[in-house]
Amino acid sequence: MGNEIVNLLSLFSPVTFLYLCMGTFLGIVVGALPGLTATMAVSILISLTYGLSAANAIVVLIAVYLGGIYGGSRSAILLNVPGTPSSAATAIDGFPLTLKGEGGRAGVVVTTFSALGGLFGLVILAVATPLIARFALKFGYWEYFWLAMMGVLISASITTGDAPNYKGIIAGFIGMLISCIGIDPIHGYPRMIFGYSQMMGGINLVPAMIGLFGMAEAFDAIKNPKSHEVMELKKKESLPAMIGASFKMLVKYPRAAIQAGLIGTFIGALPGVGPDIASWVAYGTAKRGSKHPEEYGKGSYEGIIASETANNAATSGVFIPLLTLGIPGCAVSAIILGGMQMHGFRPGPTFFFENPSFVYFIAGTLLLVNIVMWLQGVVLTSVIAKILKAPMGIIMPLVVVLCVVGSYTISLRKFDVVVMLIFGLFGMVMRKLKIPGAPMALGIILGSMADLSFRRGMIAGRFSIGSFFARPLSLVLIGILAFALLLPVVNKIRDRNRARNQNR
């Protein structure tokens, strides 16, 4: 438990509310700017919030995360460049709507459905979290080992994009190997430090994340600065009319919205997957079930509703495994978990029952951020369009400076700045080789859990590897893991066969 009492009342402090509003706005701006992602913003901010109280720090991180995921939709609609990977599906229909002169309305529609998606996920979080936490109390070392492996491997197999799956698995295992660096927590033996005493304490998660997502992103944006011209919002519609239209969409497309909310929350709750995948799955499902699939790709409101409801529902969903099992749902939540640990909070099954007030605080924060995000998103439509014109040549060097300061403040060591720089260069190489960063992030945070659970499980099971396959709960987790790993392979074979049959 942290040193400070954090409960729902903490949210009613004016200072905390101000941080919440500022964090949400910052998240929207960062998410909207192509090249700056929610992951990057949260990774840099985590150390900058070190000086804040625990309540304010966690509020800022969650606000930036949710704002960032939503903000990505604005550049997807106005520029055809997704501000964050989770809004890539939104660009398919969002930009054609802008070309039709309906960019303003589309912006308000995604704002409304992003907030509704977040709230939908929050309701499921409130219902499912106590049940999962009670269930998780039955977990032993063996199940925790499999859960950690699930987080890394599922993330590796799903987030690899057009790269082969094995590259994601390599990234995840390297992350786990990095987490083993330093003094062994069971026997006190220094591992893989190679004479560097500064590595005794291990590689700090925060500088590694700042390097991997912040520095690498900045280098990449400077390397390839695209000239983004913001489309003019031709049709001038009044704000109340656009808000009214967005709520009418809820009546028009209830199936797509509810379906996307469910998909988003479920995928968000899977360890290691997160909003990026949720939006694509929801978009694909909505298209398959639509009465007008031919409109998809040409400016379908149903399409942007599906993708944006799902990715924001996933932002609530990722907190389900995080609060109940202490396992992050995606790279950003891995960093938020690091932030919570930095302030003395260690989420997990027992933590959930011992500190229900902290869980209410998180739920309250999610609720408020979604409401504030909706208000800011609706009011600031034109301001966001102007911010998108900011040149990358100015923003990115500033990001580099923030990366340096952020990695230093975590433990006031120059060593952490060097670690950040190394991970930044490493991140660049990974991008070049199409190796995803998310599995590595999850590997670094879940590696120590896997290591300790494996060794304690071996001791408890009298050094028999069979003990990892003997318990029914372990077998269920292995089944889920096998299904998630084999599904992309089966899909690939099926697609190949289909293509072959069509060619004949």
Binding site: L48, Y166, L177, V404, R455, M458
Partner: protein, 160 residues
């Protein structure tokens, strides 16, 4: 790209082989499986196998590509794309070199605020090409902002 993939996969192969050897040498009290080296050894061996698979797939992929007729290959990469790539590599090399210089040389030499001012001024001038007034104003105000926020709002020390 082929050469880069080969170099990285071979480096990975040798690195993971070394880490596997290093993990095996770690002492263990009862059995190897509860010792500090067990989990790193398992990971390093799996990574070695995956790197080997990466190396083989890269070579096989290249061999398949080499069967494509020469005319098709030359048509796929035009000169403008090559020039663009060269420009990208140049920009990347400059920003990496300047950042290493900033962190490893300037910061210890002339203190963080001055190093930041110099770094921002040079990088913004190079990458925006907007003369020297805008880069100077942006870099000076950003440095002052970071300095004030860290010292007087967040009470966090500056890097040395």
């Amino acid at each position: 790209m082929f050469a880069f993939e080969i170099v990285v996969s071979v480096l990975c192969l040798s690195g993971f082989a070394f880490l596997f050897y290093d993990a095996l040498r770690m002492p263990f009290p009862q059995q190897f499986w509860d010792g500090p080296g067990s989990f790193p050894a398992i990971l390093a061996s799996l990574l070695f196998v995956l790197s080997l698979y990466w190396l083989i797939t890269t070579i096989v992929g290249q061999m398949r590509k080499s069967k494509v007729p020469e005319a098709e290959k030359s048509a796929s990469v035009d000169t403008s794309t090559k020039a663009l790539k060269r420009e990208e590599i140049k920009r990347l090399a400059i920003i990496i070199a300047l950042t290493i210089l900033y962190i490893m040389v300037l910061m210890p030499l002339i203190t963080f605020p001055i190093a930041t001012l110099v770094y921002l001024f040079i990088t913004i001038m190079l990458f925006t090409r907007k003369g020297w007034v805008i880069p100077l104003v942006v870099s000076a105000s950003a440095t002052l902002f970071v300095y004030l926020v860290f010292n007087y709002v967040l009470y966090l020390p500056m890097p040395r």
